[in-house]
Amino acid sequence: MDLALLPTLLLAAVDGAHAASDGHAAHAAGYADVGTLQFAKANVDAGYSWLKWMLLAPLASVVLCGAFALLKVKGRWPAVFTVGSFVLAAALAVQLYLQWSPTLFSTHAPLAVPLGDWIDLRWGTGPFQSLVAGFGLYIDGITMLWMLFVTVLATLIALYASEYMESDVKAGYARFFFAVSLFVASMLILVMSDNLIGLYLGWEGVGLCSYMLIGYYATQPGAVAANKKAFVMNRIGDLGLALAVFLIWTNYGTVEYDGLFQAIAASDAGTVQGSWGKAAIPFLLLLAVCGKSAQGPLFTWLPDAMWGPTPVSALIHAATMVTAGIYLLARMAPFYTAQAIGAEWAETALLTVGWIGCATAFIGATIACGQFDYKRVFAYSTISSLGYMVMGLGVGTAFGGVYYVFTHAWFKALLFLTAGAVMHGMAGQVDFRKLGGLLKVPGFRLTMLCMLLGCAYLATMPFSAAALSKDIILYQALTSPVEQVRWMGWLGLATAGITAYYAFRVWFRLALGPVRMEPGPDQHGHDDHGHDAHGHHAHAHDSHGHAGHGFHPHAPGVRISLVLAVIAVGSVLAGLPSYLEGKLGFNWVQRFVSNSSAWIRDTAGPEHAEILGRDAHGALFVLATGVVVVGVALAFVLHAANPALGDRLRTRMLATPGLKWLATGSEHGWWVDQIYAGTIGMASWIVAQLLYVTDRVVMDGIVVTAVGRVPGFVARIFQPLYTGSVQGYALTMAGGIGLILVWVVWIWLSGGAS
């Protein structure tokens, strides 16, 4: 795989060297200096206050599901509440879009809807003498886009979950939908709030809900460890966000978007006073993104999050939580400009974003190649895709990044939901070595075809929505005047090839070949529902006699199939903005992005750009298609045409000392977990042990025991006075009174008390 790309990479090196000699010095300074920034002042319109129902509907569902969970009422009502409230939220989002779309495409003003007071501290009238953060909505292009796809996908996923979680109706059904409702409510607060503190509220809300949902199967130690890990990893990012909000307030005196963007737009790039406080903001925001969107050093929580029920994986990894980081980057894009923090720091910040995204995309893809758990492959592919999005924002195309968020949300939801359908039917079997030929199994055909579509999109098949959006990122990177950014582009191209390989590796192994169905560990409920499938599957068992004799896989039911079909259609239609671009004269998603705070620079790349000396568009198409074809072909040879060859290759790799690390490293995620455990984990363990010993010796041993012995010591001195004789005590008392009397009389007689 990598060998095939070597020539292109070498060419890239030559190309980069050329550019460095002629254009680097001239362009590098302008990379973050994006010229005049203009953000329209928000248009305050309280007439849109009906939008609050978008938040209140899921919250009402939270209350109802919570009541059901607390009162231990069994039944399917929680799913009805959840799906119903999501449908309402989605309908309102669409309604807003329809009402607003004429102005969305003509004016650039965001919509601000005040809903109520929240934090209102004033200790003066000047700047930096107030902290105001109300309950209010700030809706511009990216908010609108997020509102649309979050609510629509959440509705579909909740509908899917209502069937998927059927076997839990007697257990955690209400608890599950409680968390899902709260999750979506938090996500909507995150994207719709008009200030950073509201965003932080939603940010923490989705973190909490992911914790609850990943650990849904709380009786399994693995699930508990996974949710703890996700929570702790996210806390590191949350710390970055909190510090960024503090610094934003100390530097700009407000946390409301409108005021912030106006302040940045008003400042002059030439005279801006860069300070460490301002320069730290974009890096702290990036740390927050790393936590929430599973980037860079903090990505290891996401694969473990697979412990949650599969609809949760789809909800967390496709539509909502992980895209919150991308949203934050897009929303806070003005902070990555020369106006905000000075040209040099802004460039460093942007390049850091780009490199983190690029490296994460590459590392995620290489790990995905070595996984045998198909759900984990999709988890690592999510990390990789998120890396692409972050890279898109880093290389300067917010449009590409956001467009890929949009297309990815659909096909990744599709992949997770098909994976869930397979898991659901195969009693929780997640190892694709124990499954095979599912395309031939009746009832699973639709699922496997949907998965094929998802894999093709993940592999960025030419002309697919995914390819159209991803190519914008690659185009921007490869035609950039900055050499480093072009390197990111080449690495991104290599990643695309690897992605094509691992996506089809999963699908070929699962769908083709002889039928193999070893059931997984949980046999739950396959007797309850699925009788209709028994007759169809009998022959499969008889003819193969595999280990799971007597196991009846049950095919997905109506709701799961319906949702799969709808999301599959949605995945294809997600490419419409590009397909219709020629006809409409504009790209639908680009309109959203260009009417938002993410739009900090002019459109994608210079005119008449060249890649490797050819026209950039044509060259990129050939290159991108080339790596995808190579990747898919390699997967076909090793996993479909001749799976034995693939297995032999792996065995030989494991046997060859020089290559063993490649296979095992990929399988174990490059030992990142182990490295963390060995460094940070070990260091904290040592500190903990030191503190434990200190506590035992100094605190317990010296301080507490010493103080505790003082009363006992004093008591031993005076103890002999306690004879046990009442008369003795009485005599002491009477004697004492006598002495006091004598003293008083003596003072009296000597005239002291006159």
């Binding site: 306690y722 004879t723 046990g724 004789s725 009442v726 008369q727 009485a730 005599l731 009477a734």
Partner: protein, 117 residues
């Protein structure tokens, strides 16, 4: 001059009545001393209890005497209180003595010296 006190007094009184108050106070002192000595020398819990009552009444007598001296009803009011509380306390204390006797089959308070620890 208080009308109530005037009714109480059988003759017109003057604030200073040195002879009668001294006599009364000496009587109260004697009563108190007897009670104290009795309390310190006796080992029988009932007798000790009676001695405390004696000291009580000495104090009550002093109250009455001083009330008379200052022509103030407060002294007599206090006596009423002392009598009431003493009645309640007597019931409690005698009950305790009975319980203690049942435990040790003796009224001597030396039997309870082990409580010193």
């Amino acid at each position: 001059m208080n009308t109530a006190l005037a009714l109480l007094a059988d003759a017109p009184v003057s604030p200073a009545m040195p002879a009668s108050i001294q006599v009364t106070l000496v009587l109260a002192l004697l009563l108190f001393a007897i009670g104290l000595v009795g309390f310190l020398t006796r080992r029988n819990m009932i007798l000790m209890f009676l001695c405390t009552e004696l000291m009580f009444q000495a104090a009550a007598l002093a109250f009455v005497a001083f009330g008379r001296m200052w022509m103030d009803l407060s002294g007599q009011l206090f006596v009423i209180f002392i009598l009431t509380v003493a009645a309640a306390e007597a019931a409690l204390a005698l009950g305790l003595v009975v319980l203690l006797y049942r435990r040790k089959e003796t009224l001597s308070n030396d039997a309870w010296a082990e409580l010193k620890e």
